[in-house]
Symmetry: C2
Subunit: 320 residues, 2 copies
């Protein structure tokens, strides 16, 4: 991975992915005790940054690969990003999703024209299902984070932050699953805004990246269910992404589901954006863990916004 791959991805996604706004509110600054900027990736096509990586990867496929189609595993955001990017390239898409993925994400993935194959995480082998389908149909697998073209696409978000804020002292909090966005943004900022430092943010109890960075080796999560932050729950950091995070990122930060719901409520009230629990983790860290950061500026990437109304109602309740 290198910065030239990210710049090339930026050229490919130009005019296709949205350049998302950087929002702020004096009310949030007051809570955090410092200047907080929110990169609103929830306003990206399909509602999350994943469309960047999906477009980056699919736009590099050959005509034969496009014709045969693509396959992806995802609990929802990568699924939608791949589905829409594939649809716009005229490529068939098969998405293998856990049966307990949020209903809205399954419905949206189908609505973007993908064939959704559901599996039970407890009893079925996702990789075996995917390998069989890929072999039968000649599908190209697009991995959600351990894929250089995907990391390059996610890194374009970092280029935009550097362009908008310049090279200033700041910590950049990133909602972190497998580390695709985190490592891509870290490479982009190291090149274009080296005074900025990336901080991975994870759900408490699912902080594999935080523990891996602290321990100097890849560690796994003990469980994969039981958090509202489905979007950023992964078994372990990627083989591609972990060394990048080791080189370039500061320590990880863990936040609770309750903190994510409160951050969603404040984003509703103060920024007028809709974010899902996993997409609110970085903002939750900025607002409710001020001692975890240094300096007077934190940029929080709000990674996604696909949220069931019932969950959002719980976030509204935190404002009462």
């Amino acid at each position: 991975m290198n910065i030239e791959m990210i710049r090339a991805a930026a050229t490919r996604i130009d005019g296709h992915a949205r350049r998302t706004p950087l929002l702020s509110s004096p009310f949030l600054d007051e809570i955090a005790g410092r200047q907080v900027f929110v990169k609103a990736e929830c306003l990206q096509h399909t509602g999350s940054f994943k469309f960047r990586g999906a477009w980056s990867a699919i736009s590099m496929l050959s005509a034969d690969q496009i014709k045969a189609g693509v396959i992806a595993f995802s609990s929802g955001n990568h699924a939608q990003g791949i589905a829409l990017a594939a649809q716009k390239h005229g490529a068939p898409a098969v998405i293998v999703m856990p049966v307990n993925a949020p209903a809205i994400k399954i419905a949206n993935t189908r609505a973007y024209g993908a064939e959704v194959v559901l599996y039970d995480r407890a009893t079925e082998d996702r990789d075996a299902i995917g390998a069989r389908l890929a072999a039968e149909r000649g599908l190209t697998l697009i991995k959600p984070f351990d894929e250089p073209l995907v990391v390059a696409g996610q890194g374009t978000c970092g280029l935009e932050i550097a362009q908008e804020l310049g090279n200033r002292d700041a910590e950049v909090a990133v909602c972190c699953g497998g580390g695709g966005l985190t490592s891509g943004v870290a490479i982009a900022l190291a090149a274009d805004a080296p005074k900025m430092r990336v901080r991975p943010v994870e759900p408490a109890g699912f902080d594999d990246v935080t523990r891996s960075l602290a321990g100097g080796q890849i560690m796994r999560n003990a469980q994969l269910d039981g958090s509202l932050c489905d979007a950023i729950i992964t078994p372990q950091p990627g083989d591609l992404t972990f060394p990048i995070m080791q080189n370039l990122c500061g320590a990880g930060i863990a936040v609770t589901d309750d903190e994510c719901l409160r951050a969603m409520g404040l984003a509703f009230a103060r920024l007028k954006i809709v974010i899902e629990p996993g997409g609110a983790a970085a903002l939750a860290a900025a607002l409710f863990h001020p001692d975890a950061f240094e300096g007077d500026t934190v940029v929080a990437i709000a990674t996604g916004g696909n949220v069931d109304p019932a969950v959002f109602a719980r976030a509204l309740d935190t404002l009462a």
Copy 2:
């Protein structure tokens, strides 16, 4: 009023107001039966386009006027726009608000540093209260729409639409109260994208602009209470704004509160933005009154997003 005043306002607000994004979703296009773009003014500072006009007007005051301070009448969005723009100019601000304005708008106006004076619309004379305070303290009154510098500021939203979409055939639906945004955008588009036509959108039962345009003279609303769309309920079109709308706008469109709630729910689910009922009127027209429009593209300006959580919960219920 002329286009040069709007271009001058654009220069003054540059770097202070946000350039808001133009959003879209294939799901919304499908409902509307055409391409729908949403200009997300809810992402503007203070949560509505009103900050544009407030900054445009306050930035033209003399040092003595700034020192003495400003006064405004508003049910909430102009109030917040004036309060924040005044605060950033170091000007004291007094805002006269109806006692039944949404609680969140009153609280926000105070939080932006303004002194809020509440009055009862049924029993007290707003203008008398304002005139007394202005005389006592030497305050400059900044009217919400019938003020050229305010109209010029709101018109900058139209310049941005023209810059982003170019001069293409489109109808531009605008949530319309007194007509400040509607007339400002109409002037901007007449100059920079003359193939676009502005369509005022109002709440059913409070459609003074629609009836005035149809009748060729200013008509009043029979009542001022009883709609969720508090943000765009005004007694009648402005003396400044009405002739501009007569010259440049197509017919008005009226939408129901229920349609606005449904549009809010769809903006939540599909665009990940928070809009209030009055700010959703234009999108409601685009989605639920397709026969009211011509051509294959509608731009709906989502004017504001300050909404009480209980009202937003009703919008979420429409998605069930």
